[in-house]
């Protein structure tokens, strides 16, 4: 076995030194009656060639999207990630290291994380960002818990129905065991945006915070400033989940719109989609809340000779020190994906990021205009970024998707009925910089054919 280096001589010599006759003797602390008596029932081991063949055969049972025409988004956006990103994170020095507990031999990981924190804070418009969370959905859940932690005596958190259903469900799962916290969902209006009148009615001194998503599930850009205004009247906090991180090239940041904290998902920026993971959960907040933040933080400091360096800091928030009183139980996060996110953002840079955002937006405007004239836009009056909802002619968006897929070779989007039966007729269409004009025109033709 190529990963197991010990020769027969090695074994003999080492056992001899240890003073036992067999390896099994080292396992005597496991009572005999508990021990596995037979070999585990697993497939026969494979050599590398066979592994490649077997995994290769499995991989082609999936349809890789490749250069095919796809308008599938809904929280997992297909952006073009430069080869440089994967090349750099594939350096063994990065991917075979672990949490930088010893800063003197981990400056690469630490400085990379510090840069990631800066980029994330800059994108979201805040003073502080952490070194990553698992994903956008668990970041939403952590944000709910954090707002509740900051506002100790308040027991309600209001969540917009426009938050991605999987993130909303994750918030419910995470708060199930928290006795003094109730979640309440604020519905969307018929126009697809957050029902602000409903929000006003629900707002009270008992509300710790509001979690909304913008662009929301339907791709609609919410009036975040007004949500903040409503919340601040009762001193409630506001967290924006940024539905599509590239929107921040043209849309104002949560921080600048008055939010107290913000979260997001970096999947699609840090690498290929991998069926949804690993991506990276983003979280940033105002300076005054930093001690309530979950997750790791890297800070700048100096060594004994005054040279600049980086360390894990404010660790007293964390589980390994504060144990049951920690701000979260998170330990391992998504460090390598955070690094990839930082690398991609550095490549894009100030201008490239703005341009990317502009291309996504312009493509979406082009396609929306065309579909608008077909009269199938579900929320024609709302403001969108790169994603929007089409009402399926015939009323069954899943059926429509399959038909277009089979007849036209185009993936037209995500049927929202997968989340809720009441959205059975809704199809979420996403356009990114990867969609050509030809693909967009083709999609329009496909919809026309199904009118």
């Amino acid at each position: 076995m190529r990963y197991l280096p010990h020769t027969t001589d090695d074994l003999e010599r080492m056992l001899n030194k240890i003073g036992v006759e067999t390896i099994d003797a080292l396992f005597e602390s496991i009572p005999d009656k508990l021990r596995v008596k037979e070999d585990l029932d697993l497939p026969e081991p494979l050599d590398e060639g066979a592994l490649k063949d077997q995994l290769g055969a499995l991989s082609v049972k999936n349809r890789a999207l490749g250069c095919s025409s796809s308008f599938v988004g809904c929280g997992a956006y297909r952006h073009s990630v430069p080869a440089t990103v994967d090349m750099l994170i594939s350096r063994g020095e990065f991917f075979t290291a672990y949490t930088p507990y010893q800063p003197e031999v981990s400056q690469g990981t630490l400085q990379g994380a510090f840069e990631f924190q800066t980029i994330t804070a800059e994108l979201l418009g805040f003073d502080v960002a952490n070194a990553s969370l698992y994903d956008g959905a668990s970041a939403c859940a952590e944000a709910v818990l954090m707002m509740h932690r900051v506002q100790r005596r308040r027991r309600k958190v209001l969540i917009s129905e426009g938050v991605h259903p999987e993130a909303l469900e994750t918030c419910r799962t995470f708060t199930e065991g928290v006795d003094d916290l109730d979640l309440e969902v604020i519905p969307l209006t018929k126009g697809g945006d957050l029902d602000l009148e409903f929000l006003k009615k629900k707002m009270s001194k008992d509300v710790a915070g509001v979690l909304l998503q913008s662009p929301n599930l339907f791709g609609i850009v919410e009036n975040v400033r007004e949500v903040v205004e409503i919340a601040e009247k009762e001193r409630a906090l506001v967290c924006q989940n940024v539905g599509e991180i590239t929107s921040l090239g043209i849309l104002e940041s949560p921080g600048n719109m008055g939010c107290h904290l913000a979260v997001g998902e970096g999947l699609g920026i840090c690498g290929p989609l991998n069926m949804g993971g690993p991506g990276v959960g983003l979280m940033a907040c105002r300076d005054k809340y930093k001690r309530s933040m979950p997750g790791r933080l890297v800070g700048e400091t100096v060594d004994t000779d005054g040279r600049r360096g980086y360390v894990l800091t404010l660790a007293t928030r964390e589980q390994h020190i504060r144990r049951e009183k920690a701000t979260s139980n998170i330990c391992t996060n998504q460090a390598l994906m955070a690094l990839a996110f930082g690398i991609h953002m550095s490549l894009l840079g100030k201008r490239g990021f703005h341009r990317l955002s502009k291309i996504n937006y312009s493509n979406s405007r082009y396609l929306r205009k065309k579909l608008h004239s077909l009269g199938i836009m579900a929320f024609p009056k709302a403001a969108h970024y790169n994603e929007f909802v089409v009402r399926a002619p015939g009323g069954d968006a899943r059926q429509l998707t399959l038909e277009i897929r089979n007849k036209d070779g185009v993936d037209p989007g995500v049927p929202l009925g997968r989340f809720d039966e009441k959205w059975k007729d809704l199809l979420l269409v996403c356009v990114t910089e990867r969609n050509t004009r030809e693909q967009m025109d083709q999609l329009v033709t496909a919809f026309e054919r199904h009118m």
Binding site: N274, P278, Q319, L336
Partner: protein, 503 residues
């Protein structure tokens, strides 16, 4: 520049924000084929970004050099021995990195139709069965993204089970040697941790568990969380008796499987009283640690808890794999999509390569290497529990510190000078100045021997010239970093100072 600082490689690398020039970019973006849209037509000016995010302005070459230089200032498994206890820093096979990047695994969207994801779903289905077999469980959820996430998920299922039976209960018993994530997960589930002390032999005694149950009222105890082997590297020999006690009160047994590398092919915990266990694919199953993730923390359960598994699960219907969302008792999702799928492909590849015999042999050699270190160093460093260990061994600085003033931190920093990553230090908390050493099975006997020799040299240095340890490390680009200042006046991001940039 001081030539000693470079050692032929540039170490002191500016921040990426301090590089480049205004107007420079490393982006490669498509030409816009449609009319450029003006967001002001659609949005209020207050919704639009006034000022672009202040991202770096650098070329691709600058990015490549910057991150390559940063990487060179990392210790890694690829570069050398990394005996970080409880983290199982074994070799990360390269074939895993190839298989997970196959387009059919990397370039798939979570919301493609099931018919287009059959290969991926088969991997999830089969990996679940492999882990069930290794751990002795009925089902496994692959959704959690890391060990702590798995713990949280496991306790949620335990809570859901108790709620179903009419009372969520109040307490979870946690040994004093537990990972910090254990009590933190307990609190997140609305439970209170009740600490139990390890017995003199470094393991839990059934009578202490029994007493703890009586103290808080066994009917109010939801579960016990046991790390096995525990953080001293010792097997919890009485696990089955302890499980019996818990079950008598209707309480559950949660096992932290971070140290499963010590048990493969020897113990299937699910068959001997453990009701829930999380696995760490980034430890036991060779997926890379990535400088702190992405990991994967699947959680296995016995039959009784199957209804509560996060949804969706993957089911096999005839020859087709399907997502099953309709699970009325499920605790719900613990994250988006289907887990860190890219990590799952790597672990799946590893298990296929190793097979049952290979995994068992990995466990045997991991335990052999750890015991070799134990025997080689026990004359010099203090061994609190003088008995064979499993995959890791814990020493204390107690005697050495008393005699020479040298602390565990000094030893750790001195190891850096010898090109070895320090072990886990000051954990578990129940050992004074703990040094927790986990060599793993993939280290050659020569490398293990070299480490022991280094530890002996450091021991001698501590006696002859303790100052060289107090002021270590000497051979890296930075001396000890001021963690006090970092915490007192936190500087958590770079801030542009006018004129300083690009100076």
């Amino acid at each position: 520049m001081n030539p000693i600082e470079t050692r032929g490689i540039l170490y002191h690398e500016p921040l990426i924000f301090e590089l480049g020039a205004e107007g420079r970019s490393g982006a490669s973006l498509p030409k816009l084929e449609v009319e450029e849209a003006d967001p002001r037509d659609e949005f209020d000016s207050k919704q639009l970004r006034e000022k672009s995010p202040d991202l770096p302005e650098v070329s691709e070459v600058e990015v490549v050099r910057h991150y390559t230089r940063l990487s060179q200032w990392n210790h890694s498994i690829d570069a050398g021995f990394y005996p970080l206890g409880s983290c199982t820093m074994k070799h990360n096979p390269r074939i895993n990195e190839v298989t997970c990047r196959l387009p059919g695994f990397a370039d798939i969207h979570p919301y493609q139709d099931e018919s287009e994801l059959q290969g991926a779903m088969q991997i999830i289905w089969e990996l679940e069965r492999f882990l069930c077999e290794i751990g002795g469980f009925a089902r496994v959820s692959l959704q959690p993204a890391a060990g702590a996430h798995g713990e949280l998920t496991g306790l949620m299922m335990i809570r859901a089970h108790h709620v179903k039976n009419g009372n969520p209960r109040k307490w979870v018993l946690v040994p004093d040697s537990a990972h910090g994530t254990n009590p933190a997960s307990v609190t997140l589930n609305g439970y209170k941790p009740k600490q139990i002390a390890s017995g003199e032999e470094g393991i839990l005694r059934p009578e202490d568990v029994e007493r703890a149950m009586e103290e808080v009222g066994g009917d109010e105890v939801a579960a016990i969380m046991i790390t096995n082997p525990n953080t001293l590297g010792l097997f919890e020999t009485h696990i089955a008796e302890i499980a019996d006690i818990m079950h008598r009160y209707g309480a559950m047994v949660y096992m932290d499987g971070a140290n499963l590398n010590a048990l493969m092919g020897y113990l299937q915990p699910g068959k001997h009283g453990v009701d829930v266990m999380h696995y760490n694919l980034h430890k036991t199953f060779s997926t890379p640690h990535g400088g702190g993730g992405p990991g994967s923390g699947p959680v296995g359960v016995v039959e009784e808890l199957v209804p509560y598994l996060p949804r969706p699960t993957v089911e096999k219907e005839e020859e087709r794999f399907v997502w099953k969302f309709d699970r009325p008792l499920s605790i719900g999702r613990v994250r988006s999509f289907f887990g860190n799928f890219g990590v799952l492909v790597r672990a799946y590849t590893y298990i296929l390569e190793m097979g049952a015999k290979g995994l068992k042999e990995a466990t045997q050699l991991a335990v052999l290497n750890a015991n070799y270190v134990r025997v080689r160093l026990q004359g010099k460093y203090t061994l609190e529990y003088k008995r064979p260990c499993l995959h890791e061994v814990v020493f204390s600085d107690r005697e050495l510190k008393k005699e020479t003033g040298v602390t565990t931190m000094d030893i750790a920093k001195r190891l850096v000078d010898y090109g070895v990553h320090p072990p886990t230090v000051y954990f578990p908390l129940i050992v004074q100045g703990a040094l927790m050493i986990e060599p793993t099975e993939t280290e050659t006997p020569e490398e293990v021997e070299r480490f022991c020799n280094i530890m002996e040299s450091i021991f001698d240095e501590a006696k002859e010239n303790p100052d060289v340890l107090h002021s270590a490390p000497h051979n890296v680009g930075l001396s000890r970093l001021d963690e006090v200042q970092a915490a007192r006046r936190p500087k958590l991001r770079w801030v542009a100072k006018k004129d300083e940039k690009k100076a």
